[in-house]
């Protein structure tokens, strides 16, 4: 199955046929997913049972013996109090998927990076960025946050194009340490990822992009959407435009209660590059899927309306 997926990534193919074939293969090799699917017998890719991303906190969901995993990516765990874990045998397909679609959307990614994203081994985001730009200088740590003076110094000293991956909140911290504008070398790319709502404050994305263009004039700013549970990413070029998936990933918006497909709603991802886990993932995000397959993200699903004096799911699972 791996060879078939790699071939699809390199040369394309019939998405639906490959997705259904991968679904059957995963049911045969992933006991948990097989039980999750129950009596389902999909005949269209849209009907392949999608696993809620939150179940990676509770289940292995691998198509191999989890003990054989060489990589374990962790989710942030901010909602349920403990992280989800995505185990992979290796990152061959993950890396291929990341590189092919990034180069398709961005062109050549500068090999040197000034990174404002987590760089530890459990971060899928950090892994992707290191893969795209092997010469990475980290200026963010989960313990101490953004090293803004160091990052500004590195940006000012850059003499060749650089890749600057950053989360929205890290970027806010960077810009908060005011600095004269820095014109990065031509070909530099700033990659903005992550939500705009943090625990500390909400960030207005348009305001952030305007400030960014003042502080880093001429720099190409792009948006990235990914998650630990997916092996592929979507890119928005320039940032603020729709997110474009690779040909091996399709997105479906559904009614969050019934799961019925519709133009806007809760987002499900069907990622052929997820060949070692499960190809169909249900996220907690919402958005609009356009006829060409591109996606406008609309943030997280809203919280449930009050149900009397009972606890909310978020409150309860945070313990």
């Amino acid at each position: 199955m791996r060879a078939q997926i790699v071939a699809f990534l390199r040369a394309g193919g019939d998405f639906e046929q490959t997705a259904l074939q991968l679904y059957r293969w995963q049911r045969a090799h992933n006991t948990e997913y097989d039980r999750f699917c129950g009596a389902a017998q999909p005949t269209r890719w849209e009907d392949i049972p999608a696993v809620p991303a939150s179940l990676f906190r509770d289940l292995f969901l691998t198509c191999f013996d989890p003990a054989a995993a060489s990589v374990c990516f962790e989710t942030s765990g901010t909602t349920a109090g403990r992280p989800g874990r995505v185990r992979l045998l290796d990152t061959e397909v993950y890396d291929l998927s990341a590189r092919l679609h990034a180069e398709r959307c961005l062109g050549l990614v500068p090999p040197r990076a000034i990174s404002l994203v987590p760089t530890d081994d459990h971060s899928s985001l950090g892994h992707m960025c290191r893969h795209l730009s092997p010469e990475t200088r980290p200026f963010f740590s989960s313990e101490t946050g953004v090293d803004a003076p160091g990052a500004w110094a590195a940006l000012r000293a850059a003499t060749a194009p650089v890749f600057v991956p950053t989360t929205a909140l890290a970027l806010v911290d960077l810009l908060a340490h005011g600095h004269d504008p820095v014109a990065l070398p031509e070909g530099s790319i700033l990659m903005l990822t992550g939500g705009f709502k943090g625990r500390r404050r909400a960030v207005d994305p348009e305001d952030l992009l305007q400030r960014l263009s003042r502080h880093l004039p001429g720099c190409r700013i792009v948006g990235e959407y990914g998650m630990s549970e997916l092996s592929s990413q979507l890119w928005a070029v320039p940032a603020g435009e729709r997110f474009v998936p690779p040909p091996w990933l399709r997105v479906l918006a559904v009614d969050p209660w019934t799961g019925t497909g519709q133009t806007s709603g809760q987002l499900r991802f069907f990622d052929l590059a997820n060949h070692q886990t499960v190809l169909a993932i249900e996220t907690g995000d919402q958005g609009t899927v356009h006829p060409d397959g591109s996606v406008t993200l609309e943030g997280r699903l809203p919280g449930a309306r009050p149900r009397g004096c009972s606890l909310s799911v978020e409150e309860a699972r945070a313990r």
Binding site: R35, L59, P256, L301, P306, R307, G308, L311, A316
Partner: protein, 328 residues
């Protein structure tokens, strides 16, 4: 005064409760309203009024969305006590509060309802809601005495015959579509889980006929699918059109009720509950059970199965005497 209060409540009973119920089916709305009004009697009101001779003058009742009947018992008690009452209705679901105030005012009682966020300067405030709402009520009425009720959850415990327990459990899950802090979030049992789940599934299906499920909040769908999916992987999930009984490990317990879902968790011994519930112990409201000697620590109210959603009146509300709780 008692007669006037009961006359006002009779007017409320005569209404069509469907539009007041925040999305319950007509049959469920009727069952919930009748059960609430049946519980408020002249004897009950008199008994609570007899617990103290002191009375506050002006009381504000801040209602929350969700369990549409929750303001009724407090409104009846406050007015029977001779106080004047303002009901601050939830802005998204004011219908019951408006109808209640209209019916009680129609018999000459000093009550009004509105959705104005300015709570004024009452002598006492009775309020319901989440942590943020409770904090906001306190901040906005610094001079008042507060009787405030934040988020809680309830559980059921079955140690005896599963077949005897199923009907009551299913009724507890059906009333109010499992909304509110007294709704069972899950059933823990020392008995054979499959037997209980199968009996429960049959009873849940019967309740769906008698009291059909009403509107559901779509954003609960992801959590519904997470639990049912987890149950299919780790155990078993019995599902109908509008209900589910997932069998799950106790470690998978989440103290949040979903509309007509009753997860069943196996215990070796009731004493395990203290450990399982420890993270949320201070928010445990009711334990519905067939074994009153086995309830977990922290339970504020113990009742029989089938009575979880129909608390008696008067009672100690979250451990506090009702009338005394609004006095300094």
């Amino acid at each position: 005064m008692l007669d006037r209060v009961l006359d006002g409540l009779a007017r409320l009973r005569a209404r069509d409760p469907g539009p007041l119920s925040q999305g319950l089916s007509p049959a469920n709305a009727r069952a919930c309203l009748d059960a609430t009004l049946d519980g408020i009697t002249a004897e009950g009101l008199a008994a609570e009024l007899g617990t103290t001779t002191a009375r506050p003058g002006r009381v504000t009742l801040v209602a929350a969305a969700g369990v549409f009947t929750s303001p009724i018992e407090w409104a009846a008690l406050v007015l029977a006590a001779g106080c004047s009452l303002r009901i601050k209705a939830p802005s998204g679901a004011p219908a019951l509060c408006m109808a209640l105030a209209e019916d009680l005012a129609a018999v000459g009682l000093p009550v009004q309802a509105d959705t104005d966020r300015d709570l004024g300067q009452p002598e006492a405030v009775v309020g319901f809601g989440g942590d943020a709402s409770i904090a906001a009520i306190q901040a906005r009425t610094p001079g008042a005495h507060h009787s405030l009720y934040g988020h809680r959850f309830s559980i059921a415990l079955v140690t005896g015959d599963p077949l005897a327990a199923a009907a009551g459990l299913a009724r507890d899950a059906a009333l109010y579509d499992t909304r509110g802090c007294m709704a069972p979030t899950a059933v823990f049992t020392t008995q054979e889980v499959d037997r209980l789940a199968e009996a429960l599934a049959e009873a849940m299906a019967s309740e769906e006929v008698a009291l059909p499920r009403g509107e559901v909040d779509g954003v609960l769908g992801p959590e519904w699918r997470r639990r049912t999916g987890l149950a299919r992987v780790r155990g078993r999930c019995l599902e109908g059109e509008a209900w589910a009984v997932p069998i799950l490990d106790p470690a998978d317990f989440v103290p949040v009720a979903l509309p007509r879902m009753l997860p069943v968790h196996r215990l070796d011994h009731p004493g395990e509950l203290d450990r399982i519930l420890a993270p949320w112990r201070h928010q445990l409201s009711t334990t519905g059970t067939d074994d009153v000697d086995a309830v977990p620590a922290g339970t504020l109210r113990t009742c029989r199965l089938g009575q979880m959603q129909t608390p008696p009146f008067p009672r100690r509300h979250d451990g506090r005497a009702m009338l005394a709780s609004i006095l300094r």
